[in-house]
Symmetry: C4
Subunit: 384 residues, 4 copies
């Protein structure tokens, strides 16, 4: 009996470890850590629940140490521990682990030392693929963004010098020095508008109105540049990520390069965890799926069909039947490529041979299905 | 005479019922309900017109109950009452009907209970097709938007921790705790700028300026992502909705798939209620219309021409005559497909055969018209 | 002598009338009227310069009456006075002329009556072509914009009801009624942030932060929709306006429809007043010009060359010589079509025959020039 | 020994002069000048470090005088001193040099006179190429932007006149005159929201809410126009700048014009200073490089390979090997053309002959490499 308890414990331990390694647990720990850290700066809460908050913070820190250790061991196995330490991810790990203990050792009071735990927020960015994309947009559009920044600085300096001249007599504490006037200009140009420094003269109002409208113009340019850059970058990154997956689907390998490129531009990649419903029976469908990696199960009668990597499903929705006729769910973590109805129709217009191939495959599968059902009716009973 | 009064009443009742089922009545009821609910929270108005407001609110609630009942009966006829209840639309219906009575039964005071009527605002979204589109944009761009959100959170936490350190000595009530400092950071990063918490030191001003500029950058990225996503989604959704309608127009059925796809991308769908003017004589025209569903009447002399589903009109505007020569109005609720002058010209350059077909049809119709007028002059008088 | 004085007066009168009919004079009068009207509301200025301001306002009003009369006479000649009165332009004219006198007649005090002169600002929009374009964007994207508006309203109502519940105990004057709370929600959702109503509780701060972030999201969607719509509309309107002009240039008439459409998409229309420099010698050029309407003079030695409607110039900049070799200026108000270097190169890659035609025309003109110079050297002296 | 000291001095002087002529030094001087100027307006700092700040400002001024002189001499050599003075760059130079001394000579107090040094911020824009691009966007979209501005003015005037009427009784100092009311309208329409003037009546709140929503709409339109314009302009300017460089690469000269145009649209220009790493061994690569101007060194064993203008490298990353196999760095200031993986794949689909050419060149180079290594093994020892 003690034996079975140990087994149970081991089992619980294993599933706990598995949960601990999951991204969900990671985000929960980061969230708990940040909330505890925030609460720890409020004297009232510290008075009521100080030890609990402290314990929570230490637990989070321990979790990050373990996580960093696991990552380091993985890297040293692959032989690149030092490289890891100086990679962005490694630096974020170190920033999450070291500052707080060092500050405490240096004699900083705990509430101040734990403020450094706000660096844990950087861990949120550690495994986000979208970040590389955003960074690329900033790098590619650097010249244009720098021009907007210089425009911003020019308006800032000239406006604050002028406002300083106009308002310094009337409001010496608000506009008496250029730094104070610059603060007003920043607050106004960004359309934040705290209202702690406001011009009072007619001329000041006129200048203020001009600065606000420059703020909108600057803002518009900035947004325009980022929107342009982001559109290009997002098309590019989707294409590159999809290309390799598309190569794995046999159905596409027979395509000539131009058709291959065209369909790669159309497909959208989606990662589906294990045992998740992809298609629900009775819903309206407007896309078909190709399985780049993984496996799905189609719940048709009498026996569910298993479709492996390289096959496709849901094509009936694109060939006329918009109501899904069966549930489909993943049996393994899978990477699916989605072909949308609109893209499918465009593709079919340019490449009718593709439509015929998909149609033939669909019919073949349907006849398979009928035959299997026929066989079942004739003899064997298959338990559900 | 009493009989005729009953008939009149029945007739009024019928037209009232028809009005009550129209979207306009629905929006009026929702609007009246929200206004009454808002007024009900003001003690002065409650003192003056309390019973009237209360009556208005109960009427609106009754209307929603009836509406929900009608919808439920419709669904149960079709056999899916339960599915309706758990659909977004059903949940919105329940949220509009149940909370207020339940709150009143639980003994909540009427002014507080009727606050729950603010949930009626959700009914505005119930039948808006654009919502699905906006939701899709958020889903498709989820990864990129999440990256921007994480960027936002990182700046938020680091800035408020730093500001807390800088300003807590000078302004203990404003920046003395991290939650207070976080509030400042949110207000500043979103460029809202209430001005209830403002840094006073030079270092605080510098950090504040940085945070505002980060706010603009974040904002720009966010807008860029949504703009990109929305552009793609709007093209896609227009294409899909138009495709099925285009298939119904015989004129397009002879086109090869590539031309069909091309013209589907160009056409814009518009739904016109009964007895509405589509073209006014003497106006400058820059588009032609295909009738996907419904019927229009062209007011040509001597007898108006009726054009049914699958025909087109207004093509003269694209073939040289920019001034409309006749009034055209719908006789039934119709779905029209609009082909713009710019798109028409592009299309004609690629597909001259289409231009010829439209030209031929236009000429045929004109000769028809002349012949009919000739016939009329020779003999019969047609009552208008 | 009196006679010559009369002639001079008549001449001055004529040039004054010409100036008075010019757009510049119109904008000056509108500007002066708006400034005078604004100044008239300030008691101090009214005390100092009341009669002058009053006189200025009456002059502006007189100008608008004359302008309206001229417009009406023009329209009644063409037979559509009534139609004019009910057109947007006619309504703006009436709103500029009637309200102030009517208010004065009804016994409203002058400072209040002249406030109605703020309607003159509508006259700025009267002759702006871009307005139709903006209006079209709003109409075409109406469904999507309505969805965003409904989203905005939903967040507005739910947030203000929640904030009313959270804060009404602590701040009864700021959040004690739903209208007050709605005012806070509008000010916050639009990121205006006056700071007159600010939540004070922790829960209120959390809700406020959420509302601000919703504000940014709504804003982003709104901007995205307008950006998408505007891009499409601007392409379309440029194409339509350019098409008719392109048809007038003989050089393009030989093109097949596809090439014609392609070049129409590339050309940009620009209207140049009389006697204006289009090209300056020695500057770097990156475009060529086609003359759709009007006339230009090329200052080549020995005699300037006059180029009329349908010809082109500045093509050397695209064929290798980036430094302009001669001044070119208009001799009549002209409409030019600009072909940019980037578009020219793309065009040349697809349509090499066009490049050859432009090249041949350029060479022919150069040899013409040489021959003429030769002729001049041999004999006749042409006065500049 | 004195001789060597002089030599050292001369050497230091030369390297100092070289540094002084570099853009970095220029930006440092501008930055120092602006900071000193800002500090000089604060009485406390002037008391503590007045002479130092003053000296710093005079030094910066001297630097700008020298810089202007060098520029002028360069221009007068080329024969265009006057033209330079009236060019934007020349005016900025004059604005940086003259105003402060003139103000001091006119007897303005130093702190006020040095305020004019804020004009130095204009020097930041002097050599930024992106500025011309931004200016072009504003010029090309002028009509649309003017429409938005007029819309803004209309809302501004009508809203402030209405708010003046509504609120003047309750808040005579805030809304008693139209100028004061206009100030509120500007602050609100730009969503700045200082909060110094806030409507208090219910009607005022309603109008205020409308104005804020108009502000968002105006903002969205403005951003949309700039985004559209910027996207087009950025494509155009990249194409033009790249075209000339592409012509210099022999590999592209054999392409037909359509392919040439296509690849020019894909390439991105980047300028790399001397001795800078372009590719790092072991990194993941997703682009290849063409050398338009300059020279790079590929660190392959046993002897580094030097690649000159017109060659390409890094192509293995696009042909299957995503891990870089050698370090590549520039030996001279170089201009590289980058071809991205996504564009490369699209290009290969349309132009398979290009893929074959790149493949062949890659193989040729690899065999070269092998042969050289072979030669080295057989005999000669090459010093690294």
């Amino acid at each position: 009996m003690a034996n079975s308890a140990v087994v149970t414990l081991v089992q619980y331990g294993a599933s706990l470890r598995r949960f601990g390694a999951s991204p969900l647990a990671r985000y929960l720990v980061i969230g708990a850590g940040l909330i505890a850290m925030t609460a720890f700066t409020v004297p009232d809460l510290r008075g009521v629940a100080g030890p609990w908050l402290s314990a929570c913070l230490w637990c989070c820190l321990a979790y990050f140490v373990v996580e960093g250790g696991v990552r380091l061991r993985g890297a040293s196995h692959a032989g690149g521990a030092l490289r890891l330490l100086f990679s962005p991810s490694g630096i974020v790990d170190l920033l999450g682990i070291l500052p707080v203990p060092i500050a405490l050792l240096c004699g900083v009071s705990p509430p101040s030392a734990w403020l450094l735990a706000s660096l844990w927020v950087l861990k949120l960015a550690q495994e986000l693929p979208g970040f590389a994309q955003l960074a690329r947009v900033f790098v590619l559009e650097a010249k244009a963004l720098a021009s907007v920044l210089v425009l911003f600085l020019i308006v800032l300096f000239l406006a604050s010098a002028a406002m300083h001249l106009i308002e310094r007599a009337g409001q010496p504490t608000q506009f008496g020095t250029l730094p104070a006037s610059l603060w007003w200009a920043v607050v106004t140009l960004t359309t934040t508008g705290y209202g702690d420094e406001v011009p009072h003269t007619a001329l000041g109002h006129l200048l203020g109105a001009l600065v606000m409208m420059c703020g909108i113009a600057t803002f518009g340019l900035w947004t325009g540049i980022l929107a342009t850059g982001f559109a290009a970058e997002s098309r590019r990154s989707n294409f590159i990520q999809t290309w390799d997956l598309v190569s794995k689907v046999p159905f596409f390998q027979s395509l000539d390069p131009a058709a291959f490129t065209e369909i790669t531009h159309m497909l959208r990649r989606v990662e589906v965890p294990e045992r998740t419903a992809v298609i629900r029976r009775g819903r309206v469908g407007d896309c078909m799926y190709f399985i780049a990696e993984g496996e799905v199960q189609v719940d048709v009668e009498p026996v569910p069909v298993i479709l492996g990597s390289g096959t496709f499903f849901g094509e009936l929705a694109l060939l006329g039947d918009s109501i899904r006729t069966a549930n489909v769910s993943t049996t393994k973590p899978s990477t699916l490529l989605i072909l949308d109805l609109a893209d499918f129709r465009t593709l079919m217009a340019h490449r009718p041979e593709l439509a015929r191939a998909i149609d033939a495959e669909g019919k073949r599968r349907m006849s398979d299905n009928l035959r299997r059902r026929e066989l079942q009716r004739q003899g064997s009973v298959v338990p559900s």
